[in-house]
């Protein structure tokens, strides 16, 4: 039996430590990991909790991230609660196995501390790795600060392991900005947190020797489509309601409110910024300043990136005249992915909103309030003109001549 870890009601944790404690409270059976900046402390802290008797489970040091996720897949198929963490190049090396995990319907929780992908090599935060996983069939939940990281990990285990779902879940946080910035985090006691997640309920586990089962089978053209359709159906139909249920449960327990789409002063907003990660809070600050000037500004934060809450986002934005999406990943030859997602959500809705795209913050470049003010000013002009007054895609915070496309 693991020892209880006595937590204060409020701890000062960075995002990594918040994730480590959530994993500890979940009493994960197997963590298989390979270290990579900036996610390393998550599994390092976890290993130290285990060494000190606070966790009753196994820790496997793998030879690579491909190996780490492969171990996680084996352990999850065997019938254990499983989690790990990674970033950037490690995430990229894991990618093949991420598709395996979701296709095998294994409820693994992966903390992704978002970081740029090289070349050129860079250890700082952007969303290239998060975007790289957007077709992988995992649930993707995004965090804006260490408190989110703690809470969303608890939610991720609960939702992922639900037998109506059985899909793996990523919990995303911004590298360094969240992972290495200590903030106040309100905690749950070990038993309350564990009860919120619930006891792990096995399903088709390989170690149930009375019901032998073959995992990871081959299906050719006669079956593959049906498997993928069923997986998509679970993502589309079951996940958002279960996440909402978990959010409701967490609110009842703690008073903290999370939403499938985090809308901020959007009730009567005419101009809105849609973004992810730590930028959401920065944009909220700027929108407060604009509201003080009587400008109807709002912010939409993506909380659940996959499944993409297309209808909920379209609904929040239905009154808007001009919308800017902020993409923190190189679009490499097209518009930002978030721009396309929003265009897809708003198309066919009869909206006349103007939609534009801003590329920012690659490789850890700061997003300043002044840049966000500029974006809102562009939005005001777009709203007034009823059409884009700037090129569709603009790079912000970049050194050198202004760069924009379309």
């Amino acid at each position: 039996m693991a020892d209880i870890f006595e937590l204060r009601d409020i701890e000062v944790w960075d995002g990594n430590m918040a994730a480590s404690h959530a994993l500890r409270q979940a009493q994960v059976d197997v963590v298989a990991a390979y270290p990579i900046t900036p996610s390393t402390p998550i599994v390092e802290n976890y290993a130290s909790f285990m060494a000190n008797g606070y966790i009753d489970g196994e820790f496997v040091m793998a030879e690579s991230e491909h190996g780490a996720m492969s171990c996680c897949i084996g352990a999850s198929a065997a019938g254990g609660r499983v989690a790990t963490a990674t970033s950037s190049q490690g995430f990229a090396l894991m990618l093949e196995t991420l598709y395996s995990a979701s296709g095998m319907r294994l409820p693994i929780v992966l903390n992704v501390v978002n970081r740029a992908i090289g070349a050129p090599l860079n250890v700082n935060g952007d969303h290239s790795d998060m975007y790289m996983g957007r077709d992988s069939g995992w649930i993707q939940i995004d965090c804006y600060n260490p408190q989110d990281v703690y809470d969303m990990n608890l939610v991720a285990f609960r939702v992922s392991e639900d037998h109506d779902i059985r899909l793996p879940a990523m919990v995303h946080q911004d590298g360094f900005m969240t992972s290495h910035t200590a903030q106040r985090v309100k905690t749950l006691s070990d038993d309350v947190a564990y009860d919120f997640i619930g006891e792990f309920k096995p399903m088709n586990d390989m170690l149930d020797l009375d019901h032998p089962v073959t995992h990871g089978v081959q299906t050719e053209e006669d079956w593959h489509f049906e498997h993928k359709a069923r997986q998509h159906h679970a993502l589309m139909s079951a996940v958002l309601p279960k996440i909402q249920e978990a959010f409701d449960g967490l609110k009842a327990l703690t008073g903290r409110e999370y939403n499938i789409v985090e809308s901020y002063t959007m009730e009567d907003a005419e101009i809105a910024i849609v973004c992810m990660g730590t930028s959401v809070e920065t944009a909220q600050e700027v929108s407060n300043e604009l509201r003080a000037q009587g400008i109807k500004a709002g912010v939409v934060g993506i909380r659940v990136f996959r499944p993409f809450p297309l209808e909920q986002i379209a609904d929040v934005l239905k009154g808007c005249k001009a919308i800017a999406t902020l993409d923190r990943s190189s679009p490499n030859g097209t518009v930002g992915a978030l721009y396309n997602e929003l265009a897809g959500a708003l198309f066919n809705t009869g909206t006349h909103a103007v939609l534009t795209n801003n590329i920012y913050g690659l490789g850890g470049r700061d997003l300043t309030k002044s840049s966000i003010h500029t974006i809102y000013r562009d939005l005001q002009a777009n709203a007034q003109a009823g059409s884009p007054t700037t090129p569709l895609q603009q790079f912000i915070g970049l050194r050198g001549p202004k760069l924009s496309f379309f």
Binding site: L106, R166, N204, L209, P212, T214, T219, E226, A229, R230
Partner: protein
């Protein structure tokens, strides 16, 4: 199987080797197990082979290397004694021959059509052990 639509199979990339529950499956010989229809035990891969391994029991020392290394569980071993090759599931990869430690080997590859009696009669002979000169 094909009568199932996307909504009627078990989730995950799984198949059940047995219908319903079974206890101590390891104690039942493969040929006696009641495998389910989706199990691949009934499917032969014999025609993948170009060459086949043949077994010479006179040379075998029952080290079980072939049984351990065969990637297709096609070495039939009973009570830790090598008995035969399962030619329904052997793909002819030759790993068993590679790992066989005896001299001459107790397993050798032969053309698929080779007659077993003929092969055994042509098998390399064991050399008499002589004192090693230094």
């Amino acid at each position: 199987m094909l009568e199932n639509g996307w909504d009627t199979f078990e989730i995950g990339s799984i198949l059940r080797p047995f219908e319903g529950s079974i206890s101590d499956a390891a104690a039942i010989l493969p040929e006696d197990r009641l495998y389910s229809k989706s199990n691949s035990f009934g499917i032969s891969v014999a025609d993948w082979r170009i060459e086949k391994p043949l077994f010479n029991k006179n040379l075998c020392i029952d080290c079980q290397f072939c049984w351990i290394y065969c990637p297709d569980m096609s070495i039939i071993s009973r009570d830790k004694k090598m008995v035969a090759v399962d030619y329904d599931h052997c793909k002819g990869c030759g790993i068993c021959v590679q790992v066989c430690p005896t001299t001459p080997k107790a397993l050798l590859m032969f053309p698929e059509q080779k007659d077993e009696e003929a092969a055994l009669s042509e098998w390399p002979k064991k050399e008499k052990k002589e004192a090693k000169e230094n």
